[in-house]
């Protein structure tokens, strides 16, 4: 399939949005996890479009998430860098891309993943959000010092 044909296919699968956010270049198969991390499932009233395994020139296959009428902040989308560091964020206004940026891995993530240590205080009914420092070897629980170094998506809340 030529690049032009793939673009055409993508256009058929996911309509352009007038206003909102397009998260592009998500690693193939991670779109649903991206939506989960962003916490927009079941809470948003806006149209949410998800395309998975879309042919991509640079990535082979990629996923795309489009959210109408809501501009996600950089802080919100940086969290997806944990599972899809190549993702790009496009802010759309009146069908035009007004802002385009990459994602950066944050130093601290709160309320995104659950601590796998069953004895951790964050796995109780205390009024706190889970808190992890992002370190080269993985995610370090700020409460119990447990380190998640594999299958981060499996620990998403």
């Amino acid at each position: 399939m030529t690049p032009a044909a793939s673009e055409e296919n993508e256009g058929l699968l996911v309509r352009r949005i007038k206003n909102g956010t397009v998260i592009d270049h998500i690693d193939a198969g991670e779109a649903l996890n991206v939506v989960k991390i962003l916490g927009i499932t079941g809470t948003t009233q806006e149209a949410l479009s998800i395309a998975t395994n879309v042919p991509s020139r640079n990535m082979g296959r990629k996923d795309i998430v489009k959210l109408s009428n809501r501009e996600l902040s950089k802080e919100e989308v940086d969290r997806i860098a944990l599972i899809s560091p190549r993702a790009t964020i496009n802010i759309i206004r009146n069908f035009k891309v007004c802002e385009k940026k990459g994602v950066e891995i944050p130093t601290l993530i709160e309320g995104v993943v659950r601590c796998p240590n069953p004895g951790c205080i964050s796995n109780t009914h205390e009024p706190i959000r889970t808190k992890f420092r992002v370190q080269p070897k993985g995610l370090h629980c700020c409460y119990c010092d447990w380190v998640i170094n594999r299958d981060i998506t499996g620990h998403i809340i």
């Binding site: 004895g119 205080i121 109780t124 205390e126 706190i128 409460y143 010092d145």
Partner: protein
């Protein structure tokens, strides 16, 4: 000025530890103001059983002229009614000038520090941290030898033993070499061992205490808990091979010291108590000057 908490030995650098141990040594020589904490109140929140830690904090506070409030048993406090730890801490912050907490959940002291408006001292959180025990362990070692470069053997339950974890972390600041001897399934957690090695600590695993008894300077013995084993027979079978006896110590270096955070059950033969190597009761006594130094650090 931010509230000072003592949550994890990992929050200390080597200078912090040395200064606190120097201060404890001065206190041991009775060079301290007996009214240093007059009018100050310490809240003791012990949600797990404790004898030595609790009593030595109470003793430390009394010796500095302060007083202690206790919740009594866990069954008698609001936590039994379902109150969150966060709420308990917010309430108790209004009653006391500092809080010392022991809790069965890892990270509980860190959470307490987030909600407290007064300093929090961690007196043990689950299998996590127990910094005051580590400081008194280091203090006891320093009474006998310089800590730098020692060979220390840790014996027993190194998986769940929080005192061993905290002490090993602190000793990585002193270029110590760590020898581990533990039953299958109770070894030092892999992520902790990896962390220590990244900090430059050499860790050597052994199957038998006799392999290292003649080379180590410190023998740190921890209790192997019966509940970790399916039945009494398998517990006794394992426990007997990790028992410290006078016969075993016959091959030890003259200056070797035997430490144990206590309580001991069967790990150390009572005949060892009279040996010049035995320091576990001194270690327990050292809890008072070390905790006095800690209380002064957070309350003054």
């Amino acid at each position: 000025m931010p509230t000072r908490h003592i949550i994890s030995i990992g929050d200390f650098d080597r200078d912090d530890i040395d200064q606190l141990l120097d201060h404890a040594a001065q206190i041991d020589e009775r060079k301290f103001d007996e009214n240093a904490l007059k009018g100050k109140i310490l809240a003791a929140l012990f949600f797990e059983p404790s004898t030595r830690t609790r009593m030595s904090f109470e003793s430390a506070m009394a010796r500095l002229g302060g007083s202690v409030l206790s919740v009594g048993s866990v069954e008698a406090c609001s936590m039994a009614k379902g109150e969150t730890l966060a709420d308990t801490i917010r309430v108790v912050s209004g009653y006391a000038d500092a809080i010392v907490i022991r809790h069965p959940r890892e990270g509980a002291a860190r959470l307490a520090a987030e909600f407290a408006t007064v300093p929090v001292i961690n007196a043990g959180d689950g299998a996590g941290q127990h910094p005051s025990q580590t400081l008194l362990d280091l203090y006891t070692i320093r009474q006998s030898m310089p800590i730098d470069g020692i060979d220390i053997a840790m014996v027993g339950d190194l998986r769940y033993g929080r005192t061993a974890h905290s002490l090993a972390s602190a000793l990585s600041l002193y270029h110590a070499r760590l020898h581990t001897i533990s039953p299958t399934g109770l070894e030092l957690p892999a992520n902790l061992a990896e962390n220590l090695e990244e900090k430059g600590m050499e860790i050597i695993e052994h199957d038998d205490i006799r392999d290292v008894i003649s080379t180590v300077d410190v023998l740190y013995v921890t209790r192997i808990q019966r509940e970790r084993f399916p039945d009494s027979a398998s517990y006794f079978n394992v426990a007997s091979s990790y028992r410290i006896t006078p016969e075993l110590l016959a091959d030890a270096k003259e200056h070797l010291i035997v430490l144990h955070p206590l309580p001991r059950v069967d790990e150390i033969d009572p005949r060892v108590d009279d040996s010049p190597h035995a320091r576990y009761f001194d270690q327990s006594r050292n809890g008072v000057p070390v905790r006095m130094a800690m209380l002064m650090q957070v309350l003054q």
